[in-house]
């Protein structure tokens, strides 16, 4: 069976660390970093990248549009 794998790219400097993407992610791919970006926010990053299914829920709810989503079948 074909497996769907996804990957996200986060524009770290524009992320405001609101955590809305982390809550909406169905697979728990996204977590908030312990480090902060230039503005002092704990930015979102794909902590478990192998779990991503490329559903784009995170990108759709992101108020600042910092997430780009890619998806492919393996």
């Amino acid at each position: 069976m074909a497996k769907i794998r996804g990957s996200i790219v986060v524009d770290v400097e524009k992320c405001k660390g609101c955590e809305v993407c982390m809550v909406t992610c169905p697979t728990g791919t996204i977590a908030m970093a312990k480090e902060v970006n230039g503005k002092g926010y704990n930015y979102a990053f794909p902590a478990n990248p192998e779990l991503c299914i490329g559903c784009a829920n995170c990108a759709m709810v992101c108020p600042d549009g910092v997430i780009t989503v890619y998806k492919t079948k393996i």
Binding site: S7, V20, C52
Partner: protein, 259 residues
């Protein structure tokens, strides 16, 4: 541009699923973390981009948090005085009837100082689209009570909660507009989950397409959060909105065109 990426082998142009639309400029949004304004901006930009209206669209930006909206969408803009966006949009649409004209207003702008303009523009049936962001509070000025504040809701000018005996009842603008003869399509949506974002995008697309029919005013109310004004984290504020705002402002279409 600093980036943090997932699995690098998947990141190829042919695998792209979702990317911020080009109509959104590279400026960082001035909103607080988790604010629904950013999502609403992006949805409008996506619909304008997908319908090919970038050169036709003229937006009227309000006074309020979204006052700098002209910095974020790469289309033509006109700034209006506080609350007067529907009146300005009326003039633009009448002078340039082939353009796509919309206003973007918050509840302090549309439901407080601009109530008369909104109601009369909708009653005249002007062919404009009104995007109404309802977060039940004056977000920009520090969380004061707005006409749309819920009964019992705390704000900086109603610290013991809104008492309807002395402060009046919340104003349901979309319900009010839906009763007017001139309005064509009135709906209430939200942007806090992916499913609701999709529904809101559909509603905005409908409103954009209805403007070409010249049948009347279309209003899309977006019930949104204000984490700073409500003194909550973004995730808490979304939960609070589901539990408290939606019973009073139920989501769904309030007026749909009769076929």
């Amino acid at each position: 541009m600093t980036q943090y990426t997932g699995i690098k082998e998947i990141i190829k142009p042919e695998n792209l699923v979702y990317k911020k639309t080009d109509i959104m400029t590279e400026n960082t949004l001035s909103y607080c973390p988790g604010c629904g304004h950013g999502t609403a901006h992006r949805l409008i930009a996506e619909v304008i981009s997908e319908e090919g209206l970038q050169s036709e669209a003229i937006g009227v930006s309000p006074v309020g948090c979204s006052v700098f909206m002209y910095n974020y969408l790469n289309i033509d803009w006109q700034e209006a005085a506080h609350g007067r966006a529907p009146a300005v949009a009326t003039a633009i649409k009448r002078l340039l009837p082939e353009k796509f004209v919309f206003t973007y207003q918050g509840d302090g702008d549309l439901a407080a100082i601009g109530t008369a303009e909104t109601i009369h523009a909708c009653n005249r049936g002007e062919n404009i689209m009104i995007i109404f962001i309802n977060n039940g509070i004056y977000g920009m000025t520090g969380g004061q009570m707005a006409p749309t504040t819920l009964p019992g809701m705390k704000s900086s000018t109603s610290p013991y909660g809104r008492d309807v005996k002395t402060m009046g009842n919340p104003l349901k603008m979309a319900d009010l507009v839906a009763t007017l003869q001139g309005s064509y399509y009135v709906t209430r949506q939200s942007v806090h989950t992916a499913a609701n974002v999709k529904k809101t995008k559909k509603a905005i697309r409908k409103a954009v397409l209805y403007q070409k029919l010249n049948k009347g005013t279309c209003m899309v109310e977006i019930v949104s959060n204000c984490p700073s004004g409500w003194k909550m984290t973004p995730v808490q504020s979304n939960k609070w909105m589901e539990e408290n705002m939606f019973p009073y402002y139920p989501l769904g279409d309030l007026k749909t065109p009769k076929e």
